[in-house]
Structures are given as structure tokens and as C-alpha cells.
Amino acid sequence: MIHPRRGPSPAQQVTPSTPRGRRRVVRLAALLVAPAMLAAACSSSSGSDSGSTGAGAGAGGQTSAAACAPTGGKVSLQFWTWVPGMDAVVAKWNAKNPDIQVAVKNTPAGNAGTYQNMFNSLKAGTAPDLGQVEYDTLSSFRLQDGLKDISGCPGVSDAKANFVDWSWAQAQVGGPGVYAIPQDTGPMALFYRKDIFEANGISVPTTWDEYAAAAAKLKAKGIAITHFPQQDANWFDGLLWQAGAKLFDTSGDQVKVSLTDAKAKQVADYWQKLIDGKLVATNLQGFSPDLYKAWNEGKVATWISAAWGYSTIRDNAKATAGKWAVAPMPQWSAGSKAAGNWGGSTTAVLSSSKHPAEAAKFALWLNSDPEALALANEKGGLYPANKAGLELPALTKGVDFYGGQKVFDVFKEASGNVDTNFTWGPIMTDTNRFLSDGFTKALNGQGTLGQTLDTAQTQTVSALKSQGINVAP
């Protein structure tokens, strides 16, 4: 910021027609604005202006499964995605389908600005035909009428059985229509340090009570059982999902928000107890070098994470090769098999697309064709939502880093045990931000995770109301 300050200095020797007082104001302005611009440019968009159309939830959702016939002729489609290596997968399609050519635009991750760009381009009429949309954001897109109902497009409805149950349910966004084709999922399981557990005579926890007991034993050895991240609200959502919490109901005319649901409170109170007992590391952020260091040094013994997390540990904790294993998530009641889900995306057809049938055809191929799934798994690390995709050779063999364990068998089973009725809220980006804010405070000793849910409930309700959305009392 040297220039703006020094720039005006020649002004001091000049005596042009401008009166002195005014020049001072101008100089001051130049000084003030430049840093302000910088600060503004640095702050990432929070997505809080999403949903500004003010349409009531459920409104606009009543378009019947409209006829969806191919437009024919030579069609070119645009597809926005942030899966690494997607170009290579789409190149295969383009080679086989000269009449439906797809152009890939590689964008940053959705919440890093691409969703906002999609919403902007929907307003401006320059939106792509297809976009990568994560499950938790489908509802926001529906609210803005940003998605096309493709249930009438050839082949779409018949494909339902080919996809993991919960993923298809989410692609329907609580209605009879179909708004996207599931791409990948993140069924959750327990990554744990087999060697540490064995050395301390701890058996793999199958219930959350056993998990807490294991945490206490590990603490005596100076090891944290896991880290509780400030920013991964989506991870916590996955835990709530497993517990069977019903956070939202968007089926009626009004949105019902119940973040303080008894199941949700149970999860929050459980983790608060672990935090209070200093059984979990609260100073390590998800995906941070500090966390990776702790993994490498054996100071953190487990991570409850999604299928895609296997490469996160593999690539960032190389010193611990062969020492990790994967087991199903601990349960709230002994004997049950519920799993949560963290992450995953769909390939959605945006409402402005002029060729929904062709777009849907491509989306189906992309997420069903064995060759496409194999390549997307290899290049982009996608864990497919397609049931046949779960049988890919890469997903059925033992993984060296995990001592040869067939870790994906665990995730495949988890995938079938994910609650199909879990519903995301219409402004999930905001709700997750409210949760993260609360976590940060709770981890710093201000309030509890339970209070975080209370606060997020109030904040979500008022955010919905401010956007003109009917909220059930």
C-alpha cells in the first residue's frame, strides 16, 4: 500500500484551481479506499445472498414431470465441475457422442464461489446446462428455481434402482421430481490406528459409549482419540445424520427447522462431554498441517470420516503406513448399523438448459458407465453413488496403506445403511456457518455444543424469514 500513500505527494507542490480543503479530502479518500478494497476482496462471499428471490419453499416445485424430449440435431452442453480429471472422463463421452458435445469448465469448489457464480449466471441467463451440486445445496438451488425436473427425460426414472438409495432420495429434494443424478457419496466409517489400539489393549469401539471409554484410556497415554474441528460443520451434520436427527422438514408449505431435535442434542451433548473431559483435541483444524503432523506422530488415534478420507490419511500421514484400519461407525444403540454421510455431489441439470434430455443423458452416462466411473475414481477420487460403481476393481481390492485391508467393503456396507429420509435445509450454507461459529466459541470455552444448536436454530429461522420464506412455528 505504498503507492496510494505516496502517489498524491506531488499534490503538495501544485497549486491548481482546486481549493486546498477539497484536496485534503480527496487525499484522505484515496488513503482510505485502497485498504478497504483490499479487505473486501479478501473476504470470501458467504453465500448469504442466496435465496434472495424470496420464493416460498415448495413454491415452484409443482412443475409436473414435464415432457422432456431430445431437441435433436447437434447439441453442445456446458458442464461446470471441480472434480480433478473430469476433462478426461468427458473426453471419452465426446469421442462417442459427436452430436452431444460437452464442454467442461473447471471451477473452484462450490462453496468457494462456484455456487454463487451459478446463481449469478442463472439471473443473467448465462448458466451452464449442467453443474456439479453437492447434496446439501440442492435445496438452495430448488429454492431459487435453479434446477430442471428431469424425471420425464428418457431413462431417468428407470435409473433409480441403480443408485444408492439415500442419494436418489436426495436428488428428488423431497418431491416427486428428479433434479439431479447422484455422482459420488461419502459414507462414513471409523478410521483408527490399529497399532495404538492393540498396544493399549483397547478393542475397536462399536458403540459411542465404548468410543468414549477408549478415549479415556488413550488420554492416559497422552493420545487424543480424535480432533474436533471448528470449521467442518458438514462433518458434524454427518454425525447428526447417523443419529437419525431430523433437522428440517421441507415437505409442506412451510419449512420446519428443528436443529434442536432430541437426537441432535444427544450427539451434541456426547461430544461436549468429550470436549469437557479433554478427551478430544480441540486445537487441530480439519485438513490442516497441524492435524497431519499429529497423525504422523501418533498423537491422534482415530478419524470418523468419509470414504474419500482414505486418501487424505494416505497422502498426509505417510509415516503411519500400514498402521491404520477402518471399522464401521460406533453406534448409539448396540447392534444397530446406522451410518452417516459426509460430502458427495450430484450432476444437476440447471433450469436454464435448453437441452434437458441430452443433458440428462450425459449425466446418466457420466455416473453409470463403468469406464467413466473407473476413470473418475482414479483421477478424481470419486466414490461412486452408482451401486455398480461400488464393484469397481479399485474399490474391491485391498489397500496397501491400510495393511491390505479391503477398506471399501466397510464403506460399501455403510453406504447401504445411510438414512434415506435425512433432509437438508434450504439455506444450508448459512446454517453450517452458524454451526461453525458456535463450534469455534464452544471449543474456546464459551458455551456448549448444545447451545450452538439452539443458536443456529434461532439464526436459521430468522435468516429464512428475512428471505421471505414461510417458517413453521
Binding site: 501544485v14 473452484p108 457464480n117 485438513f287 509415516a319
Partner: protein, 296 residues
Amino acid sequence: MSASTHTGSRPASTRGPREVSRLSVVIAMVFLVALAVYFLLPVYWLVVNATKTQSDLVTSNGFWFADWALWDNLKGLFTRDDGVFIRWVLNSVLYAGIGAAVGTLLAAMAGFALAKYRFRGREAIFSVILGGVLVPATALALPLFLLFAKASQTDTIWAVFLPSIVSPFGVYLSRIFAASAVPDEIIEAARIDGATERRIFFGIAARLMAPALVTIFLFQFIAIWNNFLLPRVMLNDAKLYPLTYGLFYWQTQISRDPQLQTLVIVGSLVSVVPLIVVFLSLQRFWQAGLAAGSVK
């Protein structure tokens, strides 16, 4: 005031170098060294960590070297996604280099005209341009996007290039500088000798204003080089990204591909190099610009 100070060897009227106490020199040095360390530490960290492998990155001391992997990292950087990083470098050079050059020319011409030509509405126009300084770029991004969308020019080079060549601050600076550095007498003499207005601007005024123009160029170059918001709103094609946004794009994919961490770091290091080159090569002119007029 006190007579004793005037009894020294020198008369008070001839100003010589003031004697500075040893203590204040030491204090100043310590302060400056502390500042230099503070500013250079992140750069040092960047240099050190750009030489590390992915696994050393998280396990070894961040402020000292581990196994030397800089060449591998650079190779990975320039070959990843079919060498898209080189595209980003070229894009940044295009947006920032040519954008700043054109922007400086426009600012110089506008500033000169506002300073030296008398016409109705001159002050009004100048005020409007100054108003532009006050409007933050953030506030303009979305309207610009909608504007470009109307012209079907979003996601093109022009969407980033055209807004970049406008610099209200540059116009302001040029006007102030032209008013002081270009004497009316020279212009009048040139006119009497039959020089065209174009010749007067390019042949005389622009040269006299050169130090200010270098400052404007540098300022504009850095502003465009670091501009993040505009590409973020306008572009969706990775081939058109400038360096800043390209590295950010990789950064957001780290959870899917942890190897990108090293590439983002080594890419950040490489992206600093052109800025340093521009700064060092133009520093001479720029310093001249700051001092110009101070001894008139």
C-alpha cells in the same frame, strides 16, 4: 530560542546534516530490522516449503529445509493438467502487463486533458472520476458481471481485461502531476512552433510525466495482478484464470487431491517472481518520481 544552541560553530541558517544520537540510530535500526524480518518471514517460509515433498511438508520443521524436492515440485507444477499453470502465468502477464500499460496510457491522456485543457464541465468530470475512486471494486463486480452477460462476454478474456484498464486513481494522479510537471509555457511554445496536440502529448507531456506514469503503471500492475474478485465472478474456464485465481482453484481441490498442496506452495513462489522483476526493473523510475519536484 536559547542562545547556547547558536553559539556552535555553524550559523543556524546553513542547514547541514543534523547530528543524530547513537541511541536513536540503534533504535531505528532495530525497528527497521524487526519490520524487515516481519515482512520477509512469510517469503522465507514459502521458499523453504517449496523445496519439500508432500510428506515433509506436514512433518518437518516449517522454517528449515528437509529433503530437496524443488525440481520435482517445479516439474509437477508445470506439467499438471497439461501445463495449465503456464497458461495462468501468461494470462496474468496479459491481464496485468498489457492491462496496466493500456490503463496507464488512458489515465495519462485523461489526466493531461483535465489538467491542461479548459472546457465546460471539466471539474464535474473530474469529480465523477474521483467518485470512482470511492466505489469499492467489490461493489462493482456483480453489476459488471450482469453488464458483460448482456453482451455475452462473461467467461472471456475481455471480461477481466476491459474493467482492468480503468483506473480513476491513475487519472487523479496524472492530473495532479501533469499540472505541476508540464509547464503551460512549454505547451504554448510547442503550439507556436506548430506541434499538433498529439505530438505535444506524446512528445513532451508524456515524457515529463514519465515518473508519475511509472508509479501509475506499477500500482495498476499490482492491482490487476492481485485482483481476485473480478476473475472469480467473471470466469469459469480454468484456461482463462490468472495466477491468483488458478492457485485458489487448486487450493479448493486439496481435500480430493492432497498432492496439490505442494503445487499450490511452489506455484505461489513462482507467481511472486514476476512481481519482483517488475518492481526491481522499474524501481529506478519510480524513486525518481517520488523525489521529483522536491528541490525545485
